[in-house]
């Protein structure tokens, strides 16, 4: 199985995640799409690691997983805080910081 297939699949998954971020308005689904993009990056890292025959890319993928877990924890904390303040869970309505 050629490595190129994995790389193309990774690019496809990344583009799908970016498309979801552009299309959806719920902060929860936007976080899920961020996960998709991080996982696409992980797939590319592991594929390149296999191609070079070096385990360092896999260590990088594990660290990316840790970063993704941190991002999820803080993002979900923000969503719960938004919900507690009775604000709408919609990124179009939450635009007080917009100039």
């Amino acid at each position: 199985m050629s490595i190129e297939w994995y790389i193309v699949l990774s690019a496809l998954l990344f583009a799908t995640g970016a498309l979801g971020i552009l299309l959806r308005r719920s902060p929860m689904v936007i976080l899920l799409c961020l996960e998709l993009m991080l996982n696409a990056g992980n797939l590319a890292l592991v594929a390149f690691s296999r191609m070079v025959g070096n385990g360092q890319g896999q260590v990088f993928a594990v660290i990316v997983m840790v970063i993704a877990a941190c991002e999820v924890v803080v993002g979900l904390g923000l969503i719960v805080a938004i919900f507690r303040r009775r604000l709408p869970l919609n990124v179009d309505d939450l635009r007080e910081l917009r100039g």
């Binding site: 050629s2 995640g17 689904v29 899920l32 592991v46 594990v62 904390g77 969503i79």
Partner: protein
Amino acid sequence: MEEVLFFASALGALGGAVGVIAMRNPFYSVLALIVHLFSLAALFLLLTAAFVAAAQVVVYAGAVMVLYVFVVAYVGGGGESAWEPIPGQRFLAPLLGIALFIELAIAVLSSSLLALGEEGADVQAGFGDPAAIGRLLLEKFLLPFEASSILLLLAAVGAIVLAHRRQEASS
């Protein structure tokens, strides 16, 4: 055999990804993401990354997704507004997504990275198992390992501060 496994997992991963952005209910999006993560773990196994695949299933599909399911159940589905702040967003966004995919494919496939080998390097039996990854983490990458542990602690404290119910806010 490897091709069959690859295309089955790739279809699962892609179908899960499309399901995440296509489902109206966030709960179904989370379930689609779980399918995506399991398919991705199978792809990692095909790439002889046993530890990363196990971490994917245990940490992502296990712990992180349970967190998502709890928050979705707490917050509720929540309908998305129908109005579009940017005219034509529904048509522009897929165009941009396709353009991004084409750009990524051109950038990666036309680079000289692939000259390293079609099938990848020959790896010995212990490649990517927990012992090899642990040795790398604790010998060569000790500083990133410790930094990520501090980051996890900070994220946990930050989440508690963010989601904390304030007394004056509730009264």
